[in-house]
């Protein structure tokens, strides 16, 4: 809806004080995906360049230099310089995710929408991507809205959380929402929030352990 691809069933939605608009340059978007097909032979740099003017008709005649510089800056911002010239399909999930992020950042958006950017990544890459997003968001004064099933890698960095589960909605700061009581209520299944000695929080579902007592 924010991207202007769906109309709200009821009510009105404004994005930066205007009607939602498809292809809004103020929004960067990273869609949910498992990975690029290994046969996708285009190099990352050209893919990021499509974020500049890929939606325009015709062949790129004017603005070559500007497009090249914009994608180069974006690739540097996500630390992808070393593999930006290799074919997309041959890169690892984490590398592809960084280039997708570079692509979304290329037009200097004010809002970054990310759909499940952490699924299909291993723990190390999850941490690195979260760190990167958080850094870029603070440096560029960028609002990031991201959807995730597993909130744990995100917990140290988020300002607000919106839970949508089984028709129930809860929104607030992590300190208000992420408590054992609130989450158990939202999910209608036992959930525990654990805080370790260093003050890090972890959300753990209890259902599975309770019903399948293995190990």
């Amino acid at each position: 809806m924010i991207l202007g691809r769906l109309a709200p069933a009821a009510g009105r939605l404004e994005v930066f004080g205007r009607e939602p608009l498809r292809g809004n340059p103020a929004i960067g978007y990273v869609p949910q995906r498992s990975s690029f097909d290994p046969e996708v032979s285009m190099r990352g740099r050209d893919f990021v360049g499509l974020g500049v003017d890929g939606h325009r008709w015709g062949v790129r005649l004017a603005g070559r230099k500007r497009a090249r510089e914009a994608s180069a800056t974006s690739i540097e911002a996500v630390d992808a310089v070393s593999y930006a010239d290799r074919p997309l399909g041959r890169l690892s999930g984490g590398e592809q995710q960084r280039l997708l992020l570079a692509q979304a950042l290329v037009g200097d958006p004010r809002l970054l929408l990310m759909d499940e950017p952490l699924s299909y990544l291993d723990v190390r890459n999850q941490g690195a991507i979260v760190q990167l997003i958080s850094q870029i968001a603070r440096r560029r004064n960028l609002t990031v809205v991201l959807i995730a099933h597993d909130i744990n890698p995100l917990l140290p960095h988020i300002d607000h959380v919106l839970y949508v589960a089984a028709g129930k909605i809860a929104m607030g700061t992590p300190a208000e929402i992420i408590t054992s009581e609130r989450l158990t209520e939202i999910y209608s299944t036992p959930v525990e929030v654990i805080t370790d000695r260093r003050g890090r929080m972890f959300v753990v579902g209890l259902e599975e352990e309770a019903s399948h007592p293995h190990a």
Binding site: R22, S41, M42, H55, W57, G58, L88
Partner: protein, 298 residues
């Protein structure tokens, strides 16, 4: 296929190449039919090389293959009712192309749907062939190509169709590239991905129709897919990959025609063999090179 065999044996008196390249080239272009073949072959190779890049990038190789087979039904049908087969070919491939395009470019199970239609279309083609009395030569030309039978007016039609399809590709170049790599993202950026998917398949239908004249329905892969598939192994930059693809398609076509001129065997055989041999060589050279690099660094 009895007529086909006759067709081959008629061509059996081949000229011999001399050691003088200029004489050979002069001999090649001495006959109008060879000049027309080179002209049409050149146009088709350029168009196929450009469009092939998108076919490979979008993973639509099977769709391209299917289009030509569906076109076969249209062409044989046209012959039965006494119309130029090119119109039947064009009509069927465009309708089928638009339908395949409407299925979306990365829809799961799409190949199954296309394959089912393809099988039925070939069945129709068989029926049409049997309905037409002088069938074998016509069918042979459609299936395996008849570039040596191209007339001056055919060349003009090929040129116009080629220029139009290249102009269309240029007009949608960036959004087509975008939606071929990531449809979801392109759509979020406001690219009309479904309309582009249909438009691309219609352009492909025109290109396939052209290429059928050169290599025939069954061998379309050699011009539309193989050059581009080789090109993307050399470079990951779209514009360069397109240029390499065009260059390869041109080389296969020109060499194929030249060799066929001095041999009793069909042009299509040489074009497809050159394409195949190059692809095999590249696939073998690639792991060999990386193995050598690993050894050198170890």
């Amino acid at each position: 296929m009895r007529d086909a065999i006759v067709h081959l044996t008629v061509n059996n008196t081949s000229p011999l190449p001399s050691w003088n390249l200029f004489d050979d080239l002069a001999a090649l272009f001495h006959y109008d039919f060879m000049v027309h073949a080179f002209e049409a072959g050149t146009i088709v190779a350029i168009v196929a090389g450009v469009i092939g890049y998108f076919v490979v990038l979008r993973g639509s190789a099977f769709a391209a293959h299917a289009l030509s087979h569906i076109g076969f039904a249209g062409a044989t049908g046209a012959v039965v009712i006494g119309v130029d087969p090119v119109f039947g070919l064009l009509g069927f491939t465009i309708v089928a192309g638009a339908a395949i395009g409407a299925l979306g470019s990365r829809l799961r199970g799409r190949d199954v749907t296309i394959g089912i239609v393809l099988a039925w279309a070939l069945g129709l083609g068989v029926l049409f062939i049997s309905l037409y009395s002088g069938y074998a030569t016509e069918a042979y030309a459609l299936l395996f190509g008849a570039i040596l039978g191209i007339s001056a007016s055919d060349v003009t039609v090929t040129l116009v169709a080629g220029v139009v399809s290249l102009a269309c590709v240029a007009a949608v170049y960036r959004p087509l590239l975008f939606s071929s790599v990531d449809e979801e993202l392109a759509s979020a950026k406001g690219v009309p991905v479904l309309a582009l998917s249909i438009a691309f398949m219609v352009i492909l239908a025109v290109a396939v129709t052209e290429a059928v004249q050169v290599v025939g329905v069954l061998l379309i892969f050699a011009l539309v897919v193989t050059p581009a598939a080789i090109a993307v192994r050399f470079t990951s930059r779209p514009a360069r990959a397109i240029l390499v693809g065009v260059a390869l398609a041109l080389i296969f076509t020109w060499l194929g025609l030249a060799i066929a001129y001095y041999s009793p065997h069909p042009v299509s055989f040489f074009i497809t063999s050159l394409a195949f041999a190059t692809y095999v060589a590249v696939r073998i050279a690639e792991p060999a090179r990386s193995w050598a690099l690993r050894r050198a660094s170890a």
